[in-house]
Subunit: 357 residues, 4 copies
Amino acid sequence: MPDKKMKAVAKTRRAAGAELIEADLPVIGPNQVLVKVRATAICGSDAHVYAWNAFAQEVYKKIPNIMGHELSGEVVEVGSAVDWLSPGDHVSAETHINCGHCATCRQGQIHLCANMKILGFQTSGCFADYVALPQSVVWKNDPALPPAVAAVQEPMGNAVYCTLVEPVTARTVVVIGDGPIGLMAAAVAKGAGASRVIVVGLDPFRMEIARRIGPDFLIDASREDVVGRVMELTEGVGADVVLEMAGAQAAVDNGIAVVRKGGRYSAFGLHNAPVTIDYNEIIHKGIVIHAIHGRLMFDTWVKVRNLLDSGLVDIKPVITHHLPLTDFEQAFDLVLSRPTRAAKVILYPDPALIPAG
Amino acid sequence: MPDKKMKAVAKTRRAAGAELIEADLPVIGPNQVLVKVRATAICGSDAHVYAWNAFAQEVYKKIPNIMGHELSGEVVEVGSAVDWLSPGDHVSAETHINCGHCATCRQGQIHLCANMKILGFQTSGCFADYVALPQSVVWKNDPALPPAVAAVQEPMGNAVYCTLVEPVTARTVVVIGDGPIGLMAAAVAKGAGASRVIVVGLDPFRMEIARRIGPDFLIDASREDVVGRVMELTEGVGADVVLEMAGAQAAVDNGIAVVRKGGRYSAFGLHNAPVTIDYNEIIHKGIVIHAIHGRLMFDTWVKVRNLLDSGLVDIKPVITHHLPLTDFEQAFDLVLSRPTRAAKVILYPDPALIPAG
Amino acid sequence: MPDKKMKAVAKTRRAAGAELIEADLPVIGPNQVLVKVRATAICGSDAHVYAWNAFAQEVYKKIPNIMGHELSGEVVEVGSAVDWLSPGDHVSAETHINCGHCATCRQGQIHLCANMKILGFQTSGCFADYVALPQSVVWKNDPALPPAVAAVQEPMGNAVYCTLVEPVTARTVVVIGDGPIGLMAAAVAKGAGASRVIVVGLDPFRMEIARRIGPDFLIDASREDVVGRVMELTEGVGADVVLEMAGAQAAVDNGIAVVRKGGRYSAFGLHNAPVTIDYNEIIHKGIVIHAIHGRLMFDTWVKVRNLLDSGLVDIKPVITHHLPLTDFEQAFDLVLSRPTRAAKVILYPDPALIPAG
Amino acid sequence: MPDKKMKAVAKTRRAAGAELIEADLPVIGPNQVLVKVRATAICGSDAHVYAWNAFAQEVYKKIPNIMGHELSGEVVEVGSAVDWLSPGDHVSAETHINCGHCATCRQGQIHLCANMKILGFQTSGCFADYVALPQSVVWKNDPALPPAVAAVQEPMGNAVYCTLVEPVTARTVVVIGDGPIGLMAAAVAKGAGASRVIVVGLDPFRMEIARRIGPDFLIDASREDVVGRVMELTEGVGADVVLEMAGAQAAVDNGIAVVRKGGRYSAFGLHNAPVTIDYNEIIHKGIVIHAIHGRLMFDTWVKVRNLLDSGLVDIKPVITHHLPLTDFEQAFDLVLSRPTRAAKVILYPDPALIPAG
């Protein structure tokens, strides 16, 4: 049985920053499990909340609250109505806590629940020694999976869903964006047998990671003519699949310009300003746009596991830093620095679990 | 064997209007058939060409040229390499003449051919006594089908493809737009077993036609709060399916606002100005957008025929006028008038075929 | 709070028949609700269990047990972890109680759970005054829905899933089988805008019901050449869609023979003996076979509700008898009689709810 | 301009064997091209025709006729209505010559044409110096593609279509059958990012080729318990995808037994006798069966090209012999020998093109 108090990183004020606090250990209900956190990763949305930008002020209403939603850990206690998990199980968690009975849940799109709660946003999060999780979002891990990799399955799931929402095998895929999820999407497209993977990026640090992931072509949007280059590489046809994962107007413009007639465009990047889209062009081209939110619960998780287990996708190049949870300020600085100096940053409540090297 | 000369309506100058000309009878090649036109319909794009607006000036390069692409008629002569058609066959035509060997054709999306020619745009059209058609675009009709209905199967195909690109049975469908194709889409959605069909329109004449088609709800966008009304009708959930067929920024805004999470949005309406789309909202909602161009060749035609034959869809309310081809100026005036006084206007090279009443 | 004892119809011995018993009122757990049963319907599988045939002996292991799984009723008590249901709610139930964490559940196919329990088979059923239901299988009804119709939404769901697993709008559909679910499938196909619905049946009583449902063509397999007739009606092409819902070798043979090249065949009818299939013929035709088990949870229920609410499907002709629960022996006799004298038979724990007429 | 006479291998009698003949050079029509054959491959169906078994006697009606349908070659002359091919183009051909206007062609399933002609069966084939091809079936090759590889794109297309008819990325795939197309399917599944590929075979020579293709697991059906082994490898769940490519009752039985609930089964292997299928089991499992005939025209060809170009699939291990066309008797002996001594055997009208080594 765990101690009664624990350390945690919480948003305590409607201002930039976060605070290391001592919190009560969560008390679990019949449908919950208590998890000892091994590793937790910083999401871009956590960084927004930390920096307290406009987005954060709009969505982060529960204060004080323990932050964090990407994790791996070990079950230490199970609720009375939980019959498939036991103390000692290695687990991660889907971030989206769905209600199960709204209109979208009822149609099987539970990742788009109308009453969605987000772990670490509307509920107490995992930047802590322990976290209470509803059994409905728990995902069992192979104990052999490194805690850091296990902790980033959730954002890898975004990449997998965004990339594989329609097949990419034997197709040309353009990934626009060099953020962690874009980089993982490039790895997923390669693993899924895309015949050509073209990554469009900007940031030198991230482009170096992209290089290690090994797409067929890398386009530096800061120096190259993105549209011209993709059209040249595709003999004037355009790409079968475009994954817009950058969240900038130029990315949308380039994406719509390079997708081929009848092609597929996935919209993933959240934007700070209204986006203008060449509506006549998308009609002229007859494309399909999949707007991607979250991950399929839990078919995407199955694919994530299988891609990792089989070695088809290696996301380790995207994990750039391992730090103790107590160094969260340094961690957020890394994530927020521009030009970037980090991709995925992993925090460990127990520093003894930080991998050597 | 037909006469050597025929009457036709041609675009002869880069200016508003068109001209009744005497033209040579087309001489057919080995893969063509010669068709005596029974009925031909005016498309919105023909009206643009007639009015010579910016769109027309951009797309209509072949001048002089016989206009027109929606037709029904009778085969009078077949080329040497045509083995499945005979004089006397009743036919209509797909407007899109595809090459068969470009990248999109090779992927089975022949309606999005990269080398597409449009009948009456890049080739000589059907506002004439006779038209030569490549066998690849000919569609055989039941001789019992009225010539006017047979002539509007092509635009009805737009409505069918736009509506049925994903199933609508037992779903709530909102059609935004009261143009002829929007009206036909409402009829198609009803025939396809949509559980609720909501039509959003503006124009009094067209709204009256909509009423005859019989959607479950009709919203007058000139007086009603479209978003509020749809959300009320859908108990706050939004519509499963939105068909944007109006070509106006407000239509896109309303459409994105009323589509439910995980829903489907079809983009069909061509716009005169850049369109702003709430990109974050589509991602938040996780919707799929199908941008619709043309019709599936020829699966959509099969559905059009089956919907008409079975009586599931009656498009006659959308056909408002029957005129001799020689009255084309009156016909275009009808189509271009605002507020509208017409929906589909049918022209007959042989006035004897004009239905009584 | 309900009484402590209730009446129920239970399987008490490994032999033909069932018994009216006095049972304890169910005590609900945190994730359960207690429902007062208004109407419950006899499924073919209940009749097998009653008759105690080979199938029943293989699958019905829990004895004694209260039978029954198709129901409508009213919530009278909710468990401590149930936050979306309240006493007074009108509900029905999905029969399949899935685990949520096996391989198929994780892929979103929860209706195919590897650890599935069936209400009234592995758990205590609804041929009783009250039944305890896990909240995960509860479906909220419109209180205006007649109890009998509400009780047959579950088997109607089989019909909806089997029919709509791929679109039928503007397609020719052949339903082979005149059992209650086949009859409902014919109604669903008509409501969904199938351009032609052909029903193949055998039994005079059921064929009369089929006639009231109104397919385009009715083929009496006892007197007519099924294959010849369908091929004639489809001009030698065959049907786009075949729904095999009869569970006989001849039904499979006819179904494979009449489905068109590239068509769809749904396999639903359980068979008493091994089935021989013309494997070369299915390959030659390039068909897709969907083997249908249960219903999508809960997208099929959404469609069932929408089809009923909109009036697109009327299943009342399939409901032939309304009896008090205590007359269960007469009810089973009706269901088991051959030639048939019944389709769906509804039982009412409270005879006051039996509709007049 | 080619010579007026050419050598060819023809079926000249309704008996076993074939004959080397001198034939007139084909004269092409307006929609045809004349191709000088560089390499041509023996299909299993050619071997049936050569051996003159029951299948051959049923399907091979045109005698005398030049055999052969898998080829690569060079265009030497184009018909008057052909505008996209020129002498010197490197090409292969789809074997299925579709009509373009039957019910299945009209629905876009042109590979299932009701009036299908097969190259080398209903038309003069490519076991010859030259062959006339309708432009509708010509596929342009990269001149850098080795003639032997280019010639087996057609059967590789069977493998690609059968494997990728639904996505296999991150899924477990079982290929049952060690014939050339089964072996290629294993290579395709690996290239497409299947997380585990399990090949079930029998024949020592073919199993050795399978080993070079590199599936994750290889099961020898002559010695191992196929079902037990697959269930063990899949932790009792079964395989997501089963490709039945063996054409034996045991293969079907094993395939149905090992596919998981909700999984996908592709039926490809033609059988000599009626096949018994466990119909209740497929319904219990809720699987989808795709019966695979031919290839998508021409989306499958696009994928074949992209998989070869990218190096994701290497089919060279499946090509075991290169012989002059005049050694056709030796070639057929190789293909027909049991236990097998060959997989794909390539014939060259011009022996100078036989690769060294």
